[in-house]
């Protein structure tokens, strides 16, 4: 057989095939843990339109009572759209960006603290990670919003702390704790052989961490990090329960100004839903792409 075609080598210049048992590459058929962004990204793009379908169908289902029609409700929505976008949704985005920035910075410090060799630092980091990771977000928000002052005086200068800034702090706490776990997990996921090899080359612990381990972790952390960003963005309407001015709070006030017709509910809330979908869907798709690209190959 080999004498007929001497220059073909299976797996190199022709398809490899064997009937011997081999270890197939590991390909999980579904994500191991439930990932919001994976779930979101797995939706086909037309899902957004399906979600907006109630907008189109609602007129037929709603009560035909009274003179306030769906057309009125939609023209009301169109009147309010610029305001809801610029003073509402923009703040959701700003809150999520700042919360992510603060949460990530603190989370990295806390995560590295969790793998510290100093027992005290390790314990304290572990404690804060677990505390904020296992607390309801709304409760954290309540505590921060009610406990923080509305202005602070530093060297005689009065610095106001607006409500949305407090919301940023409140939301960054659980993000911090979850990023901390991501960092810890990523560092521990690097094979111990890497540590041993580096040690044998006389790198110090700090050098190993910064030059060898963390660069490898970075790629692994990106997908879960973006996953948490998507979760955080979708959690920002929680702030409406505390009166922070964001899209849901302002939608309510807009409906109030339009005399609280129940017909307004579906158009206004669907508008908010559509905005969140348009914003989070691309993030979820990119996360999935990066996850595939950086997945550990065996």
């Amino acid at each position: 057989m080999a004498s007929k075609r001497p220059y073909t080598i299976p797996g190199i210049n022709r398809n490899g095939s064997t009937d011997l048992p081999v270890l197939k590459p590991f390909a999980p058929s579904q994500p191991v843990a439930f990932h919001t962004s994976a779930w979101l990204a797995n939706m086909p793009a037309w899902t957004g339109f399906v979600l907006l379908l109630p907008l189109m169908l609602w007129p037929f289902a709603s009560h035909a009572a009274g003179s306030f029609t769906m057309t009125d409700a939609f023209s009301a929505l169109i009147r309010w759209m610029p305001f809801l976008l610029k003073s509402g949704f923009l703040f959701n985005v700003i809150i999520s960006l700042f919360a992510m920035l603060i949460g990530t910075s603190l989370g990295i410090i806390l995560g590295l603290g969790q793998i510290s060799r100093n027992r005290f630092i390790k314990r304290v980091s572990w404690f804060f990670t677990q505390l904020f990771r296992n607390s309801p977000w709304l409760v954290l928000l309540f505590i921060v919003l009610l406990a923080f002052p509305f202005e602070v005086t530093i060297f005689g200068v009065i610095i106001p702390i607006p409500d949305w800034m407090k919301a940023v702090i409140g939301l960054s706490l659980p993000i911090m704790a979850n990023i901390s776990e991501i960092v810890r997990g990523a560092v521990l996921s690097v094979p111990t052989a890497q540590w041993e090899a580096a040690e044998s080359l006389a790198f110090s612990r700090q050098q190993i961490l910064w030059r060898i381990i963390l660069p490898q972790c970075f790629k692994r952390m990106i997908p879960p990090w973006m996953n948490w960003y998507a979760i955080l963005t979708m959690a920002t309407p929680l702030c409406s329960l505390l009166g922070v001015e964001e899209i849901i709070t302002l939608s309510r006030q807009a409906m109030e100004a339009e005399n609280n017709h129940p017909e307004l509910l579906v158009p206004f809330y669907s508008f908010a839903l559509g905005l969140f979908f348009i914003y989070c869907y691309p993030i979820a798709r990119v996360t999935m792409y990066l996850e595939r690209r950086y997945s550990v190959k065996i």
């Binding site: 009572a65 003179s67 509305f150 309510r252 409906m255």
Partner: protein, 278 residues
Amino acid sequence: MIKKILAGAVAASFAMSPMVATAESCSNDTWNKIMSRGKIVVGVKADYKPWGYRDTSGDIVGMEIDMANDVAAKMGVDIELVAVQSSNRMQFLEQGKIDLMIATMSDRADRREIVGIVGPNYYTSGTNVMSPKALGLTSWEDLRGKPVCGKQGAFYNQIVEQRYGAQVIAFTGNAEAKQALRDKKCIAWVYDDSSIGSDLSSGNWDDFEMPLNSEDDNPWALAVPSAERDCVFGRFMSGMQYQWHQDGSLVALEAKWGIKPTQYLADKKAQYGDWLAE
């Protein structure tokens, strides 16, 4: 020596009870703060048409905003409006986040202990329910044991619950509460009678009625921080309200914002009216 200790104890007890302390000494912190920075921060509603609500550009407008503007004009300072909710308005005032609160608050004994409410009240409203005509409610007692929709933060939710044994389901907004009424999740929607009246006259609620006698004429109160109640700011706001009644500003504002004229404002205008004016 004993005198000194006694004096110290007395001083301490004065410091402990804010009522006495304010009566003794007025530091007028809030008033001075407003004057020195040239701006008054007023807490108003942004979800209570037509007293305080947003226009499509996002500015807060309404009857109470007009009143707040008048206060700022008389003090000669700029104005900043802060949207407050029923759940946080008193905290904001006591924290100092707002200097003055004109936010559709009902004047209640328990609230007077927290914030500096000064009279005379600038408005009153009654509580009533909107319910389907088909139910034919005739008295408040008909609500006993039945689900009734309301808005969170309204004090009469509690009264309807305690006095008439209704089961109140409180929503964050009135639109939600009214939708629930339409969906038959509750037999009635409890709210201000003037609001219900304007809804019924809008022609969108033809199958509904306001069947009961309005309950609890609730006076509405504005408030200053409790430390300012018996000091310059409290007295000034009392005077503002008195003047609004006397010169008919409130009656005019009521008409301007399309609120059904209330007997209370007409009575007050007559009561405080100038006898030389005739």
